[in-house]
Symmetry: C2
Subunit: 374 residues, 2 copies
């Protein structure tokens, strides 16, 4: 079989093997120990709505059926919630999947795409996976630098630009007026992916009004964060009808599980649970802020369910990441400057926050001295 | 906003809106009535292993966690089952998703892909979605015509050819020796997608031995059929390590749900349930055969959990499809000749088979006369 080979495309041959994230289970297998506090995967530590869990349990023996390929009931509920048309909503198996499909709509080999250096790696993964070229602008003071993003779009003529609001991994946010100014300033024919995975945790002023008639904005929403349904894989895009039609041309029509559709719908109908999560997250953010101050660090203001703690340098952050892992605490450190001087930690339950606080205090005592370039 | 537009790629602009299948829920919404017997979506009417259902219920409140991005436990179990290495298995959110990714590995705009005319529409959907060109050869006497497929591959130099064994939608099968001859005859650099979604229902002689060291074959297996887990979306590919690495470069690493992983593993560990499904399906196939004979039709021998019934002509088949739908019975008729003279019906439970038999007998009485070209 020496002459037999796999006829990969050029894009695939040129593509290095990469994984956007190493998951917590994979880390546990590598280290041979289980995490006591799972605070690094941007999950919701406050669990699932009991109504959603009950609805999912109820369909456990019904999953011989494919899920509805049109996610009809869920789209109808989402349309009502957002005051838009069902034809302006595309449901997918999580934002990761939808991001890949949106990239595929506009990126061919060689297409330039603009994003911030250190923003969502899975978006970058999709861009590179379709042969696109990333043009990355640096963060500025913990914020995505909208002026720099816009300048990069103009300079490169990129048809696609990514922004998350609130921001992952920093937790910062821009207000609706700023976002709207950015959108209006986009050149014709540049599509903005506005990733709003964490919007439910943000001040109301962070979310622009819905305008799905604008063909140049597609907004990403998810059930993985405040709804706590990450492990069922369901999210949605809000955009122009033509964009939804474009997604319909390429999406996996039967890809959203029956379990996810049922769980998401039940969760949407449990606003008390969701408000409870939001309130507990707000409380946890204040806890982390106090903890950071006590240890001489600085917690960045966050509009998400995680907090980026500036520990004073990249070397320190890396040290703390590893030391916390040895203590059974899973957090993340963004891999690029100037973000890499922060430890990003999900808001855990009070118990998980106590484990994190105790572990951080312990390992911080052995921390290396701060260096200039950290 | 008149000058604002979505910067679709040329492939997307040229791509017509299409959906591989209209799902049963969508049909119910169109007609305004629920199906009494859901026998058209290639689902398993014998449900889910009670062990799998219990395992899925147990994680219903754990789904705030993403599923393991490496599906480690499941891959280990599958590797043991098939006697191959974990690195030769790629788990995905159903065969539909994996098929799309395999197509993406080798198809760029203009690439020719060979398949049978009337074979799995979702494969074709992916090929066209990546700008590939389908070269389709006709079925022969209810079988995929391997000689014609091979001739087409040689003639076109296609890097990709699709075959299902057992066949969907006809239920026919080739034996392992025939498949192996086909594989050996492939030109170097042509990848065969061997879709074995229904292999558990087939005679043992239909499945070639595992040889994942051959870089030119990728086999598709699913939990949607005998395992009855269609609505959780989970399947896997078996192939060369380099092919699995290729999939790892582009797949959605966190795309397989926690629920699906847990359910699939529990189902794998319930061989008695699976054997029960296989036995009941065999019994149901015999029922359909008798029913067909009684009504003057011919049921094709089937190695799957559905049966294609030759009703004598395309016009008749279309009539029966619609008349059965009016009776609340959901079946399918393949859209292209010479397959379109068959009604394809899933093996239902005894109750569903009785509903189908009664409805078919009733509507067959009003059937149009057979025409020559039907």
């Amino acid at each position: 079989m020496a002459d037999r080979y796999i006829p990969f495309t050029k894009v695939l041959r040129d593509l290095p093997a990469s994984t956007p994230f190493v998951g917590p289970e994979a880390l546990e297998r590598r280290t041979g120990r289980a995490f006591r506090a799972r605070l690094g995967a941007n999950e919701s530590c406050f669990g699932v709505s009991p109504k959603a869990a009950a609805a999912m349990r109820e369909v456990a023996d019904q999953v011989w059926k494919y899920g509805d390929s049109e996610s009809f009931d869920l789209r109808r509920a989402l349309a009502a919630k957002h005051g838009i048309a069902e034809e302006q909503i595309s449901v997918g198996a999580g934002v990761d999947e939808i991001l890949g499909n949106v990239v595929r709509l506009v990126v061919e080999p060689g297409t330039t795409v603009v994003t911030s250096n250190g923003a969502y790696p899975t978006f970058n993964y999709h861009v590179e996976g379709f042969g696109g070229r990333l043009h990355m602008v640096p963060y500025k003071d913990g914020y995505e630098d909208l002026d720099a993003l816009l300048a990069a779009v103009r300079e490169t003529g990129a048809p696609l630009v990514y922004m998350s609001n609130p921001d992952n991994p920093m937790g910062s946010w821009h207000d609706a007026a700023t976002i709207n100014d950015f959108v209006r300033a986009l050149p014709a024919g540049t599509l903005l992916v506005l990733d709003e995975a964490y919007i439910e945790f943000a001040p109301q002023a962070a979310a622009p009004a819905m305008d799905p008639d604008d063909p140049q904005v597609v907004r990403m929403r998810t059930f993985s964060k405040v709804h706590g349904l990450a492990g069922t894989r369901i999210g949605y895009a809000i955009g122009h009808r033509d964009l939804v039609t474009g997604l319909d041309k390429i999406r996996n029509h039967f890809g959203v599980t029956l379990v996810a559709q049922v769980g998401a719908l039940a969760s949407l109908n449990d606003p008390d649970f969701l408000q409870g999560v939001i309130d507990q997250v707000a409380e946890g953010r204040r806890d982390y802020e106090k903890l950071a101050r006590r240890l001489g660090f600085r917690a960045l203001p966050s509009a998400t369910n995680f907090v980026a703690i500036d520990v004073g340098g990249a070397e320190r952050a890396r040290f703390l990441l590893n030391a916390l892992q040895d203590e059974g605490v899973f957090v993340r450190v963004p891999p690029v400057a100037p973000l890499n001087r922060h430890v990003r930690v999900s808001v855990g339950t009070p118990r998980e926050r106590a484990i994190f606080a105790e572990a951080l205090e312990k390992v911080a005592a052995d921390m290396p001295a701060e260096t200039e370039d950290g």
